[in-house]
């Protein structure tokens, strides 16, 4: 006679959390690291040419970059403002329906404005360490595009903890401001405005 059948001991199944999991951030974070490392290693290995494609209407690349970076800072401030409204931090100002669109488009414009700058930086100047300003700028430049990539990929995933997007966005903004201070601000205060 067969042994009495016993039901298998119930394995403990944790209830599936539809809520949040920071583990969802692992893949975006790895991709972001890869982006930052790629930029840094390329900037270090590629020997700087000093020259890149010119933008019509300006006499030198540094002015163009400073203007583009300053434009990016302007749109980035719109980013921070619109996200504060979206998160309900501006008490006397309810989130209007167009605020999401404003946030997305100002972000896209910010990013697109930075792309010619980083291409010129990496191709013409490279990753440099010869002064505190230049070193901070090189590091922040690599990190900015890493953080931005993480944020873009994090947006595509549902179920992230609530702190993820504000932290990533705040980090990207802080890095962008650091980049601007160590480049465009320095350039305009050193050389002044020339076309």
């Amino acid at each position: 006679m067969a042994a009495q059948w016993e039901p298998p001991a119930p394995t403990r199944l944790d209830p599936v959390q539809p809520g949040t999991s920071a583990r969802l951030l692992v893949v975006p974070a790895l991709v972001g690291c890869l982006v930052a490392l790629t930029l840094g290693i390329y900037g270090r290995l590629h020997s700087p040419t000093g020259v890149a494609v010119d933008v019509i209407g300006f006499s030198n690349g540094a002015t163009v970059k400073s203007v583009l970076a300053s434009g990016a800072i302007g749109f980035a401030i719109i980013q921070v403002g619109s996200s504060l409204v979206m998160y309900g931090k501006v008490r006397w100002f309810g989130a209007p329906s167009w605020i999401g669109g404003l946030h997305r488009w100002s972000g896209r414009i910010t990013f697109i404005l930075t792309v010619p700058v980083v291409v010129h930086c990496l191709y013409a100047l490279g990753f440099q360490t010869f002064s505190a300003r230049v070193f901070a700028h090189s590091i922040a430049g690599c990190l900015f595009f890493g953080v931005f990539t993480v944020k873009m990929l994090a947006l595509t995933r549902r179920g992230m903890p609530g702190w993820v997007l504000p932290v990533l966005g705040g980090l990207a903004f802080a890095l962008l401001v650091l980049l601007w201070f160590t480049s465009a601000f320095w350039f305009f205060t050193t050389f002044g405005w020339s076309r």
């Binding site: 020259v51 494609v53 697109i112 792309v115 291409v119 010129h120 191709y123 873009m152 050389f191």
Partner: protein, 249 residues
């Protein structure tokens, strides 16, 4: 298949970066082609003047080095890859974008360059010429790369992280590079002036040039006839750095 809009943003940025990178690469190779054309023109001029003065240098169109220089008592231009390379030369001019001027002085196996904007941005650079190519370095990680030939020099100088492109011409005294080094109250004061072909000058002065990262300010005006400049109660005496006479080397 629907792609999330943030990913589209990343892809668009990447595509823009790639296209800019490709156009930068073609811009740089265009720059090199222009340099080759300019050198060819200088080569032709040099060949003509060499023929007129019966100079021993006879650059060959094939780019093979002409070795006739051996018989010359004075150093003669050499030819390398179709470039006529003067052994002694001074080049000055403004960098592209008017952010400063650069002087490049070659004397036999040694070269001195100076970049300054007449204010805080300046650098002295040194290097060794090799077949008309220069790769020079200076304090604060300043660097300069250039190609030079009879009559002109082109290249890039990077000072304080800003790169400046230049295409400058050969000049003779009184245009050129001047330097003054004085000890004032224990500090080494080093000033440099670049006198352009049209006679305008630009100069910067390092109040403490022995520092690893010397700061600079505008230099007082250099009197070209007396080679002196008055900096407050100090009189600075300048020496020409001249590739043609070897002064300052």
């Amino acid at each position: 298949m629907k792609i999330a809009t943030p990913v589209i943003t990343l892809i668009v940025g990447l595509a823009l970066a790639a296209s800019l990178l490709v156009s930068s690469m073609s811009a740089v190779s265009g720059e090199k082609a222009a340099l080759a054309r300019a050198s060819a023109a200088a080569n032709a001029t040099a060949a003509a003047s060499a023929a007129a003065t019966a100079s021993p240098a006879q650059p060959t169109s094939a780019g093979v080095s002409a070795t006739a220089a051996a018989s010359a008592a004075s150093p003669s231009p050499s030819s390398s890859q179709g470039f006529v390379i003067p052994p002694h030369a001074n080049y000055v001019g403004e960098v592209q974008g008017n952010l400063g001027s650069v002087a490049l002085v070659v004397h036999d196996t040694f070269a001195i360059a100076y970049f300054c904007n007449g204010k805080t941005q300046e650098a002295w650079l040194r290097g060794t010429p090799q077949n008309g190519k220069l790769s020079m370095t200076g304090k604060n990680h300043a660097s300069l790369t250039a190609n030079y030939a009879l009559g002109h020099a082109r290249g890039t100088v990077i000072v304080d992280g800003i790169s400046h492109i230049f295409s400058i011409i050969a000049v003779h005294k009184p245009s050129g590079l001047y330097q003054s080094i004085e000890t004032v109250r224990g500090a080494t004061v080093k000033a440099g002036w670049i006198v352009l072909a049209n006679g305008t000058q630009v100069g910067s002065l390092e109040p403490d040039s022995t520092s690893a990262t010397p700061s600079a300010r505008t230099a007082p005006k250099l009197d070209i006839s007396t080679l002196t400049a008055q900096d407050g109660d100090t009189t600075l005496t300048a020496t020409p750095i001249d590739g043609e006479t070897g002064s300052g080397f």
